[in-house]
Subunit: 140 residues, 3 copies
């Protein structure tokens, strides 16, 4: 099996891009379970200042269901744009990824609203697939 540590840096970079595209498309479709599946079982996810991080897949699902609750009656489409991805391999074979994430919020007949963030991720490869082990989002 090819592990992340064996991949050349160019292939690894592309694989991380593919991972973010699939992961964020799930989030933006409000497929919370599908999004949580892209995290490891013991993952930590800190996405909003002042809100404690959620832990484990079940915890992430609960956290996001609660977080998205406020949008229930809000016809808002979010789009998470991730780019400018800087990837490095850590000693333990995990992947440290620092990337810009621009959140685009669109409501009918309104101009899009933007939130500029940076995501600080540790990704790991398990059985050939990438997962987020930890994510901390900082806000500009």
């Amino acid at each position: 099996m090819t592990t992340a540590a064996m991949l050349d840096p160019d292939t690894l970079h592309t694989r991380v891009q593919r991972f973010y595209a699939a992961q964020m498309q799930r989030l933006d479709e409000r497929d919370i379970e599908g999004y949580a599946e892209t995290f490891t079982d013991a993952a930590e996810f800190s996405h909003t200042p002042g809100r404690p991080p959620s832990r484990t897949r079940a915890g992430i699902i609960e956290d996001l269901r609660d977080f998205h609750h406020r949008f229930t009656d809000d016809p808002m489409q979010r789009r998470h744009w991730v780019n400018m991805i800087d990837v490095a391999l850590a000693e333990d074979g995990s992947i440290v990824s620092t990337a810009y994430c621009l959140v685009v919020k669109v409501r009918p007949k309104q101009e899009p609203v933007f939130v500029s963030t940076v995501i600080h991720d540790v990704l790991v490869e398990i059985a050939g697939k990438l997962f987020t082990r930890s994510r901390h989002v900082s806000y500009d």
Copy 2:
């Protein structure tokens, strides 16, 4: 010859990125003929709600000339940003690509205006080059 079906998913992803970069730079330079050449001869292109899709390269050229006619006296520069590309191979060897496309419209001395869309493409490889066989654009 290497066909899309033979490419590993990472290389295919990068090739689709390169394709969109070159294709959209042509469109944004209002090189309508050059843009149409990136579609197959029998392509279908549906880009605006309420407007019927255009078909064949000649049809796409005619459609876009008509569509751009409204911009003749408008000093607007458009930039099509495509990212978060999710690519899958279909049974018939074609490439199903779902990607975010943010259209940036810039007019002199004005703030940019943004339109958030998703492009739903089927791409095919012919003689080693990618072409759009169908494109449907949905608007957030």
Copy 3:
């Protein structure tokens, strides 16, 4: 040693993406020296209309220190988003890269401000690393 001219176009494209991500993250952290190190020693950098291009790494550092001086008391975070990268190899082995660059400027409690530009780069590979030999930025 693998040189840019030996790389297949897909790998070269990814390498240029990685280069921009690392380069622009330095600039946005106001690591001016680190940013200047991504240019060749004799590089030319033209970034603002009406302002003469800076030359050599030392000249780029001096230019950017002067340019950033105006931001000293401005709590602005800039983010340079580079995408839609179109890359071609020149006869001399250098890499001609034309890419969209959207500059996002964020100030506390204000909506982000956007500047839409295109960067026209010549990159070269020296001892396996990419460097910018010349950069000219055009504004939409």
